[in-house]
């Protein structure tokens, strides 16, 4: 990753597009979210959503796959250019996570991330907190997923 100082606030990055298949949605649900409308296409037809929908945590996992690869690619590009790579710290958590609409089998979701603010960490010298606003839109342009995440990123050595 870029050093904390080199991170630009306010520029959205398109990080990936994924078409959700019934098979993968069911595979995830079998392990982690065994509600009928995530697991059983027949039962889902008469359920509250009228069809099989992805577990919200599956949508979250797919987003994180793109987000992690986005950060890893930035690091790779820096390394190739012979520039130093800032370390990533842990994330303390997130706020305001929304699943405003279901993701149905066959939906194509495009994900993007925007740095919304950053601040140096008083409690951890050498590190800053970077706040990301993350979103996913389906093929009709409707918001299906959003949250505000935070990641600790190393500051440029003095």
């Amino acid at each position: 990753m870029h050093y904390f100082e080199d991170i630009t606030v306010g520029e959205p990055a398109e990080i990936g597009t994924h078409t959700f298949t019934e098979d993968e949605m069911i595979r995830f649900a079998e392990k982690y979210d065994r509600q009928d409308y995530h697991l059983d296409p027949e039962a889902a037809k008469t359920g509250p959503f009228g069809g099989l929908i992805a577990s919200g945590w599956y949508t979250g996992a797919v987003f994180q796959g793109f987000f992690a690869r986005h950060l890893l690619k930035i690091a790779d590009d820096l390394r190739r250019a012979g520039r130093p790579v800032a370390r990533l710290g842990p994330s303390p958590g997130f706020t305001d996570l929304k699943w405003p609409r279901p993701v149905f089998a066959g939906d194509t979701v495009s994900f993007r991330t925007t740095v919304e603010k950053k601040r140096p960490l008083a409690t951890r010298p050498g590190w800053g907190a970077v706040h990301f606003h993350n979103e996913g839109f389906n093929q009709k342009g409707e918001l299906v997923y959003a949250f505000h995440g935070v990641t600790f990123i190393e500051r440029r050595p003095a």
């Binding site: 982690y32 979210d33 994180q64 990533l88 706020t95 305001d96």
Partner: protein, 158 residues
């Protein structure tokens, strides 16, 4: 048939610790991370040791998925549920390690009927995931929607 859980069964102020547990394996940590969060500290013990986490640790999103499975086994699979609009907040408090066993405790902070959807209630829950040492590892607050007993049974008769 198992006892179903309706909105009526989820009173504000109640705290429940579920008997369900989730054993965490190194294989599953690496498998989840390879697909959905391929950052080095989630992929090998060595890379974990070199990171701020000090050893192999599950992706925070894997911890969320395991928390969902604890909800699934704890109550959601038996509930007449209608999904979740989202979470207000989630904190990753401690790394989840290979060999950990996770448990869940749920507190109902607020329960109210929706004016916009008759026969449906929304509960605001705080869910805390603990490891075998009784240390909290994930702490989250969010909402889930449920049919009332009356609405669900009217639907079954129809």
């Amino acid at each position: 048939m198992e006892q179903r859980i309706y909105f009526d069964d989820l009173p504000a102020g109640e705290t429940v610790r579920f008997p369900a547990s989730y054993p965490v394996s190194a294989e599953e940590i690496v498998e989840f991370a390879s697909a959905y969060d391929p950052q080095p500290m989630h992929l090998s013990e060595e890379a974990g040791k070199a990171s701020i986490l000090g050893g192999l640790a599950a992706s925070g999103w894997h911890a969320c998925a395991m928390a969902m499975r604890l909800m699934s086994d704890g109550y959601i699979d038996r509930a007449v549920a209608m999904g979740s609009p989202g979470l207000d907040e989630l904190k990753w408090l401690k790394p989840v390690r290979p060999g950990d066993t996770l448990y869940m405790e749920r507190t109902c902070l607020e329960a109210r009927l929706l004016r916009s959807k008759p026969g449906v209630g929304v509960c605001k829950f705080r869910w805390v995931v603990y490891n075998q040492a009784d240390e909290p590892v994930v702490d989250m607050v969010g909402a889930q929607m449920f049919f009332t007993r009356e609405q669900a049974q009217a639907g079954e008769r129809a």
